[in-house]
């Protein structure tokens, strides 16, 4: 399998070439280039194209405009809606979903979400209860019910694995992705960006230390690492607050050292044999430890920097409701020093969300500074941010955020980063609003927060899907319910960590499986909302 690239196709002795792509117009241009650059002298090859998850009229039209449509013998679709990223995590990896749903009113990704959910139900049983909050959630639920009605096949006789489905619109909680994540995995994503469970890191810290090596073989290519729960150590530290990772790593180091020292105690042949058989595992563990120690060092360089501290301070001030109504000095400084535009946008949006919109004077001031420093063309991006509700003028002169914050206990002063007792540890004080809603739904239920729910955008609802009598199950006392929580518009690693935290609580009562349209962070999110040339 080769990655799609421009110009000519890589040489390969094959007759058939299959393009396996998402239906994006830009990719059609690349494919056309590939097809048109085919070497006429070589043997003719057959082209096929597989769209994931659906064909697109517009893409095929583009191929036609570029004169290559007829070159494809087969144009099909491969309905891959939800992709498993881990045992409890599924994603559609649809980058455009948030913009399409919330800015353009295009519900195609919601349609795919509904289809993905129908597939899940076919495999794991009809989900008896559906809860939702938000316009898009309502649409998805409607589509699911309608699809079930049209499904004339035999009744699904699978014992339901999921007790509940919770559909949440991203715009119910615009705050969380804007804040800097503070879990280990969250920070890796914030600083380096995790793509499809892989991260690319600066290679210097990963060069193997060989004796007598004068450093002439220092690798120049980025170090690529795969990050998922198959790696024992990673599974243990990924969801911890970064400040708690160091102690885990040093404990691990001691254990591994001790294990290697055991070789001195192995006297009999049998004991030596046993030691040797465990070597691969120990070596893997040591390699894993070395990698994560290096990564932790890289992250620490960032988190101990003055700027990181200043930025975090401002974020936490906003989230705890301090000074959200005036122009912020740190943000002004960032603009003056021309820090990354996305960094600035995240901060001003955070301030706006924590203030239910900025006073017109403050908003105009920020906008002018941004346009004069980064360019007038960013008027378009600012307009998108306003449309998304991220950076807008305050209407009605009322700030609802303090009510929401207090009722849902979003800001917790006494956070324990080492041994957390509450989900607020993932942001060292701020409890993700979305996860708090899930938590409260489970216990004591949303009736207790009716007032807050009415302030948050979009309808909230509950639907029941009837099960055949044999399949209805009463949970045993002490047995956890399983809730599938679907974020429509994206989810961050910090929120995933918070949900996993809830899952493993002693008497939490609910275990969570997480699905989303896209795994994202504040940076990739804002970037998707920026206007670029066609």
């Amino acid at each position: 399998m080769f990655t799609l690239k421009g110009n000519r196709l890589p040489a390969a002795d094959v007759k058939n070439i299959i393009f396996f792509v998402r239906p994006r117009l830009e990719l059609m241009d690349i494919i056309a280039e590939n097809v048109l650059s085919e070497d006429r002298r070589g043997p003719t090859r057959d082209f096929h194209i597989l769209f994931v998850p659906r064909r697109s009229l517009l893409c095929e039209q583009r191929l036609k405009d570029l004169g290559v449509l007829g070159s494809f013998i087969h144009r099909e679709e491969y309905s891959l809606d939800l992709i498993p990223f881990d045992g409890d995590l599924l994603s559609m990896e649809s980058e455009g979903a948030f913009k399409e749903c919330y800015l353009e009113g295009d519900q195609t990704s919601l349609y795919h979400a509904a289809k993905g959910l129908m597939t899940l139900q076919a495999l794991y049983g009809t989900i008896p209860q559906i809860f939702g909050k938000g316009e898009c959630a309502r649409q998805v639920a409607n589509m699911m019910i309608r699809m079930k009605r049209e499904f004339t096949g035999s009744q699904n006789s699978i014992f339901p694995v999921f007790d509940n489905l919770l559909l949440l619109d991203r715009n119910v909680d615009l705050l969380t992705p804007l804040a800097t994540q503070l879990t280990y995995e969250g920070l890796i994503d914030e600083i380096y960006g995790i793509q499809n469970s892989y991260v690319k890191l600066p290679p210097e810290k990963f060069a193997p230390k060989k004796q007598g090596d004068g450093g002439k073989d220092l690798p120049t290519e980025a170090k690529k690492l795969q990050l998922n729960s198959a790696e024992e150590l990673y599974a243990e530290i990924r969801d911890k607050n970064f400040n708690a990772v160091g102690s885990v790593l040093s404990k691990k180091a001691k254990i591994i050292s001790a294990a290697f020292e055991e070789r001195h105690n192995a006297k009999t042949v049998g004991e030596i044999k046993q030691f040797v058989s465990q070597l691969p595992h120990m070596q893997a563990a040591r390699g894993s430890l070395a990698n994560h120690t290096s990564i932790a060092e890289l992250i620490k360089d960032v988190t101990t920097s003055e700027d990181f501290f200043d930025k975090l301070t401002v974020e936490q001030e906003f989230m705890s409701g301090i000074d959200t109504d005036k122009v912020n000095n740190y943000i002004e400084d960032c603009i003056a020093q021309k820090h990354s535009l996305i960094k600035v946008l995240r901060l001003v949006c955070l301030q706006s969300v924590c203030n239910s919109g900025l006073k017109q004077k403050v908003l105009d001031y920020y906008k002018r500074e941004i346009l004069q420093t980064y360019g007038y063309e960013h008027i378009l991006t600012l307009h998108n941010l306003e449309k998304a509700g991220l950076l807008k003028p305050q209407t009605g002169g009322r700030n609802n955020y303090p009510t929401i914050r207090k009722t849902l206990r979003l800001w917790m002063d006494d956070v324990n980063e080492q041994n957390p007792t509450d989900i607020s540890y993932v942001y060292s004080g701020y409890a993700p609003l979305s996860v708090r809603l899930a938590q409260l739904l489970s216990r004591p239920g949303w009736r207790s927060i009716e007032e807050v729910l009415r302030i948050l955008p979009g309808p909230h609802f509950e639907e029941r899907q009837p099960l055949p009598t044999g399949l209805q199950k009463k949970r045993q006392p002490g047995e956890n319910r399983v809730t599938l929580i679907f974020f429509l518009g994206g989810v961050t690693f910090a929120e995933i960590a918070a949900l996993r935290f809830l899952s493993q609580l002693e008497d939490g009562g609910t275990e969570y499986v997480i699905a989303t349209t896209k795994l994202m962070n504040g940076t990739s999110w804002i970037e998707a909302l920026m206007e670029k040339p066609f």
Partner: protein, 463 residues
Amino acid sequence: MNRTKGDEEEYWNSSKFKAFTFDDEDDELSQLKESKRAVNSLRDFVDDDDDDDLERVSWSGEPVGSISWSIKETAGNSGSSHEGREQLKSRNSFSSYAQLPKPTSTYSLSSFFRGRTRPGSFQSLSDALSDTPAKSYAPELGRPKGEYRDYSNDWSPSDTVRRLRKGKVCSLERFRSLQDKLQLLEEAVSMHDGNVITAVLIFLKRTLSKEILFRELEVRQVALRHLIHFLKEIGDQKLLLDLFRFLDRTEELALSHYREHLNIQDPDKRKEFLKTCIGLPFSAEDSAHIQDHYTLLERQIIIEANDRHLESAGQTEIFRKHPRKASILNMPLVTTLFYSCFYHYTEAEGTFSSPVNLKKTFKIPDKQYVLTALAARAKLRAWNDVDALFTTKNWLGYTKKRAPIGFHRVVEILHKNNAPVQTCRDLKDRQQLLAYRSKVDKGSAEEEKIDALLSSSQIRWKN
């Protein structure tokens, strides 16, 4: 090319990326018999046909041995001699999804999607939807009901739309009356399927006048949004703007028009285009910004031409000492100001490239101006100019006694440019020196120097 199965396996399993192998024996999913059965019995989501069982399909998607398959063969579509090809057999429980949809004739949605074996014979999108006479496939006796019905013309809008979604035969031309067309649209919208809605909108766009189309869509929000998205995707800027004008969505009209400038590379053409944006119904604030954008580019073009000329003439010292690394075109305002303070600091207000002119034209606030000028002069190590900036009456409007807010920014700039400690001493500015001291590395030579100065009794500090 006929590879044996064994060769195929070896080929796939020896590829660079060892990901999913179709013959994964240990796949635990293949053991979920119950689930497998459920998935295999799914209908509507897998583009299945009226046929009940999973059938063997040839590579072209026809069920082997079916009437339509034989028709295609008879019709001489010899390009599809796919006998030699291996069937895509997958043994995992998602096999229903890998099943290929049935092929159809030329009139359906899928005719856009269906591969033509004769390159270049593909009709245009609109042609495909039109009512061209059918190839004469003589209806044979004993054809399955489903196939026969493909060629009749009495599908209701909802059935039409459902068939469109499955990629089946469907002529939209028979929806002649406006009411029929609107009903078709309504059905498409309720299906939530983007491709179907797009197909119907293409049809309506072609067969309805602009005014009627706009009028009808005005009250159909979902379809309207879809049309806007579609027009943006295909870049039909003209129709999009007409639509916004009709809907009186003035601000969107303005922004959409302005957005085009990103695609114009030539600076003069872009400047002319920006001129057309002035006076469009932006908000008051945005109107000012758009005007500034135009004015700025206009100035930049003049400055760029002039400076390029000076640079190549080689007579101007500043350009010789500090050759320009990039053009000033399309740079933001503050960057342009910095450039101007760097290369044209001493020019009088009359020239386009003078900093003072920029300040006046764009109403740049004092604070911003001074900080930018400071950064530029510090970079050039023009300490006299730095000095002058500090001692002007306009210096941040603060008295010399109190350290002004934002002063740390001054320190940042000086520190970044390694302002000699002398400067601070010369300015007799102890506050600044103290602030500066906090920035230098501990134990450095600079710190020592600073300490020495601070403790010197000879200097009469002003603060």
